[in-house]
Symmetry: C2
Subunit: 211 residues, 2 copies
């Protein structure tokens, strides 16, 4: 299978870490989003939305969404489980992963997209044409990120991983959000968050984090 990828972008990294945890091999093709390679005629023929990651299976089937790719892999290769093992654990992991997307990854992306000079007319990702950046989203996004970090800190005081004692896709999404926020979106790593720091060191030390 072939993963259309960008090394620095958070959603492709979520899939790479997931695949590494499953110990699966695949080919990769890097597309540079800043240079608009995801909007080329060639790539839009594969994924009309122009978003990364996109996975092309060996039979040509295209999976064009990060969590859907993880779901496909989880169903075929259930061990180690990363999306829960029964109704309640599946629901809890999905809930937290979606909270992290909405409360963290989305505002971090808005800070990055709407502050980055090369995206002044690409304020929204993918093949939606010219959409102007909205500078107010940068301040809003930073406010929301401080709330996101504070909530994570409280939760991780009582929990080894995002959902209880098992590493899951929710940890992958949180790790990618945190690294994206602090490196690409230039939001400082929060101070006075010892539980978050402890969790971050633990998940960053997994071999998959280098994927």
């Amino acid at each position: 299978m072939l993963l259309y990828d960008q090394q620095n972008a958070p959603n492709p990294r979520r899939v790479r870490i997931f695949l590494a945890e499953k110990n699966l091999a695949y080919d990769r093709k890097q597309l540079n989003i800043v240079q608009g390679e995801n909007l080329s005629t060639e790539f839009l023929a594969i994924n009309p939305r122009g978003c990364l990651p996109t996975l092309v299976l060996d039979d040509g089937t295209v999976l064009d969404e990060s969590v859907a790719i993880c779901r496909y892999v989880e169903e075929l290769y259930p061990n180690p489980p990363l999306m829960g093992t029964d109704a309640l654990s599946k629901a809890r992991i999905e809930a937290r992963q979606r909270h992290i997307e909405f409360d963290g990854l989305l505002p971090a992306s808005e800070v990055f997209r709407n502050a980055y000079p090369r995206f002044q007319t690409r304020g929204v990702g993918g093949s939606v044409g010219e959409v102007n950046a909205i500078p107010e989203l940068v301040a809003r996004g930073k406010t929301l990120m401080s709330i996101f970090f504070a909530r994570l800190e409280v939760e991780l005081h009582h929990s080894q991983y995002i959902v209880g004692g098992e590493f899951s896709i929710a940890d992958i999404t949180a790790l990618c959000t945190l690294d994206f926020a602090t490196t690409q979106a230039r939001i400082p790593f929060p101070t006075n968050c010892p539980a978050l720091q402890r969790w971050y060191q633990t998940v960053s030390a997994r071999p998959s984090a280098k994927a």
Copy 2:
């Protein structure tokens, strides 16, 4: 089980339709988001994020996210299947449902939140404190909604439902997005979209659409 609900909001409706398709009974408690009932001390003790829907199981377990609630129900009551039956159908349905959320429900929500006078200092939902509305998001959201409608029209030319020939959670999300956009966010139903119109009439005629 008890569903904390708001009749007019799109995410609670997604869960109500899902539960109706599964023919499951439950109690409901209405909270008025405009009046801030979702931010009361009482409700924040149940769901600190202050978001609806929230489902409380009979043993007191709280599920606080719409798709996670659906996942829990799907796992316990797999028939009729609404989230796919094998790895590929599960991935395809998840991909489309998430596209619809990101490309449709999110911009429609931004149009509504950032235009509605009662939400001038609640530009983001849930318990995040005062966040000013950003009027530019209204125009951006309308632009994105026109792209969303146009893409749906193309897809539904070749497909009975959002994903092939079977009704799924992706149809539920699309229906709730469309009704929310056209009634609450006051974005006109798109003209010259016969396939979308045909699909809309079909899914709106299901008994679950009244849930």
